[in-house]
């Protein structure tokens, strides 16, 4: 009752002269919860459809459990999908929807197994209803049961929580994780919601423009992004342009607008030339203009506070530092406001929190906000 490995080798998909998936290779180990994360149009849904067999790749191969399934058609693959719009059959009731795959494969004990799947999603009492009589959350769970009951080698989830409200979404995230643990299948979850990917997945692959920018455990990706896109798609980052001047003691010295900033060498993508030094806003502290920096910390400034936004949990400060640009600082609201617009402050952080990236000119580097805004507006528009 466990899933199998999924392996993609140099998969490419072109539509005319638009390349949706560009020479993508990766392995998803069996039994893991794998998230494909990326903005709209990055090719993640296309990727999913290729795995499901609903699209065939222009080049490359797909393997499940070591077997090459590239040429097999969708209805012959041991893969099931939970669609974004659920795609429940409106003319069948819930139990028949769930039993659909079992019946097509002429399996035994169809009704019992379907009921068991409904138990898993706690919807046994709705077995006789039609999909139109269910709420969005209930439909989503039926779609999940319908896919799970077939014990697929790989279960694909295409942004299944997109249409749910926030509270329900959080609930379902926990549910899905629990079910995956219990059942032990390989889950591949496609989403544009980075928080969702990070909370649910064992491994996250960040996709952009048809390619995987970085792949790894959520903490790893968050703590040490390798490209500007990842740095701004997962959470937010302050990126400062500078040049590497020296290296000793495992620390790189980088000249950022006249200030010497240090980055551990093992947290840098390149050790010479032009780099982008990154540090996350929540790792930066505000210092008064005359306060001393903590020992060993990198200090930047002075700069002028351009804006202060109170967000309940934290306060975001936007600080303009001459030469470096606009920096963002998230301060936990432990002691109330520590600076006001127009005030002069200095910024400090520990070098262990910094990382260095190379500006690869990829689209959407440095302005993850714009991408998130686009996601939100696309999610809002049906």
């Amino acid at each position: 009752m466990s899933g199998r490995d999924l392996e993609l080798v140099s998969v490419t998909k072109r539509f005319g002269d638009f390349t949706a998936v560009d020479d993508l290779s990766l392995t998803m180990p069996s039994g893991s919860f794998f998230a494909l994360l990326g903005p709209s149009g990055c090719g993640k849904t296309t990727m999913l459809r290729i795995i499901a067999g609903l699209e065939s790749p222009s080049a490359g191969r797909v393997f499940i459990g070591g077997e090459d399934i590239t040429a097999t058609r969708a209805h012959q693959r041991p893969v099931n999908t939970v669609f974004q719009s659920y795609a429940l059959f409106p003319h069948l009731d819930v139990i028949e929807n769930v039993a659909f795959g079992l019946r097509r494969r002429r399996e035994k004990h169809v009704v019992e197994r379907a009921m068991a799947a409904l138990d898993l999603v706690e919807l046994r009492h709705l077995a006789g209803r039609k999909p139109a009589q269910l709420s969005g959350g209930q439909q989503q769970r039926v779609a999940l049961a319908r896919a799970l009951v077939n014990n697929p080698a790989v279960l694909l989830l295409d942004e299944p929580l997109g249409a749910l409200d926030l509270k329900l979404r959080r609930q379902m995230q926990v549910e899905l994780k629990r079910i995956q643990n219990e059942v032990g299948l390989t889950f591949v979850h496609v989403t544009h919601d980075q928080e969702e990917a990070m909370t649910m997945a064992d491994t996250v692959a960040v996709m952009n423009a048809g390619r995987i920018e970085q792949m790894g455990a959520p903490q790893e990706l968050y703590d040490l992004p390798r490209t500007p896109f990842v740095a701004n798609f997962l959470g937010r980052s302050n990126l400062l342009a500078g040049t590497v001047t020296d290296e000793h003691g495992g620390l790189l010295g980088v000249d950022v607008a006249g200030t010497r900033v240090q980055v551990p060498a093992d947290r840098a993508v390149a050790r010479s030339g032009a780099v982008l030094v990154g540090v996350r806003p929540e790792k930066v502290i505000l210092l008064g203009a005359d306060d001393p920096a903590p020992p060993g910390a990198t200090a930047l400034g002075p700069g002028t506070v351009a804006d202060v936004s109170f967000a309940g949990v934290s306060t975001e400060y936007l600080v303009d530092v001459p030469g470096a640009g606009r920096m963002s600082v998230f301060a936990q609201n432990l002691t109330g406001l520590s600076a006001t617009p127009g005030g002069t402050v200095r910024l400090a952080w520990s070098p262990q929190h910094a990382f260095a990236l190379v500006d690869d000119g990829a689209p959407d580097d440095g302005t993850g906000e714009a991408v998130e805004a686009a996601e939100l507006s696309e999610a809002a528009a049906p």
């Binding site: 499901a52 067999g53 609903l54 058609r73 969708a74 209805h75 012959q76 893969v79 099931n80 999908t81 669609f83 719009s85 795609a87 429940l88 059959f89 409106p90 003319h91 659909f100 795959g101 097509r104 494969r105 039609k130 139109a132 009589q133 319908r146 896919a147 077939n150």
Partner: protein, 265 residues
């Protein structure tokens, strides 16, 4: 802003009058089906049930109705099958000459019946085919196809293509996916198209008249007997058709309303 009460009620009154206008001939036909008429049903002579009890009293009436029914069923089956296939192709597939196909399907609906009837007759004559039962069926299928396509097309367009993908994802071969998912969901549209085709075929006069030779359909019989005198049994048939059709359509409406209410709970 205070609306003129006069303007507010004017519209519904006007509409009510229009409905009265629409239904008067039907009421008249229905009333005269109870007329104790002899050969000609022009003057009211007395109320009787005999016409309804003995609808085949005037022999040609029943024969023509039977012909019309047989032709209707045949034409409906053939045109529904052909039209449904075309409708699916038009909505779900992209192909060249799409505009041409659309035009070809539209033209029979736009062409006056006189022209259609005359053209078919001309062709049958040239092919030395005698007009009769078969030619009527052929003609009816021809003009019904377009209407079937229009009706089914609307239904196909409203079908979520993701459902067929879901079926494939759940191990249904293309054939299984069609018969277990697509077809059941199309059925209401196909049924509506079949009903439409049947009523068009049953009620057709002009094209039938041109291509029927000696065979009588119900409308043709009524037209021809208009000069001699239409037997009351024809009124019975007409009224019966009206009632049956009314029941079918109203039942459909009530079922749909009930389904809507169930979905809302």
């Amino acid at each position: 802003m205070k609306r003129l009460s006069f303007g507010r009620y004017l519209l519904p009154v006007y509409a009510a009058l229009a409905f009265l206008y629409l239904l008067t001939p039907i009421a008249y036909t229905f009333a005269f089906s109870f007329n104790d008429a002899g050969r000609s049903n022009l003057v009211w002579r007395g109320f009787t049930f005999t016409n309804w009890q003995n609808p085949c009293g005037a022999p040609a009436v029943c024969e023509s109705v039977v012909n019309s029914l047989q032709i209707g069923v045949l034409a409906t089956v053939i045109s529904t099958v052909l039209g449904t296939m075309i409708a699916i192709a038009l909505v779900r597939y992209r192909f060249r000459l799409r505009a041409g196909a659309n035009l070809l399907l539209f033209l029979p609906m736009a062409t006056p019946e006189v022209v259609l009837g005359a053209a078919l007759l001309a062709q049958f004559l040239n092919l030395r085919v005698n007009p009769g039962f078969a030619t009527i069926v052929i003609a009816h299928v021809m003009f019904c196809i377009s209407f079937v396509v229009v009706t089914v097309k609307a239904r196909v367009a409203s079908l979520d293509p993701r459902l067929e993908e879901a079926a494939a994802d759940l191990y249904a071969s293309p054939r299984a996916a069609f018969w277990r998912v697509t077809f059941p969901l199309l059925l209401p549209g196909i049924a509506a198209a079949a009903l439409l085709a049947f009523s068009l075929s049953f009620d057709d006069f002009i094209i039938t008249n041109f291509n029927s030779g000696n065979t009588d359909t119900f409308p043709k019989f009524v037209y021809v007997s208009a000069t001699r005198g239409i037997p009351a049994q024809a009124n019975v048939m007409g009224s019966a058709m009206f009632l049956i059709a009314l029941i079918i359509v109203v039942t459909g409406q009530v079922l749909a309303a009930r389904r809507r209410r169930a979905a809302a709970t």
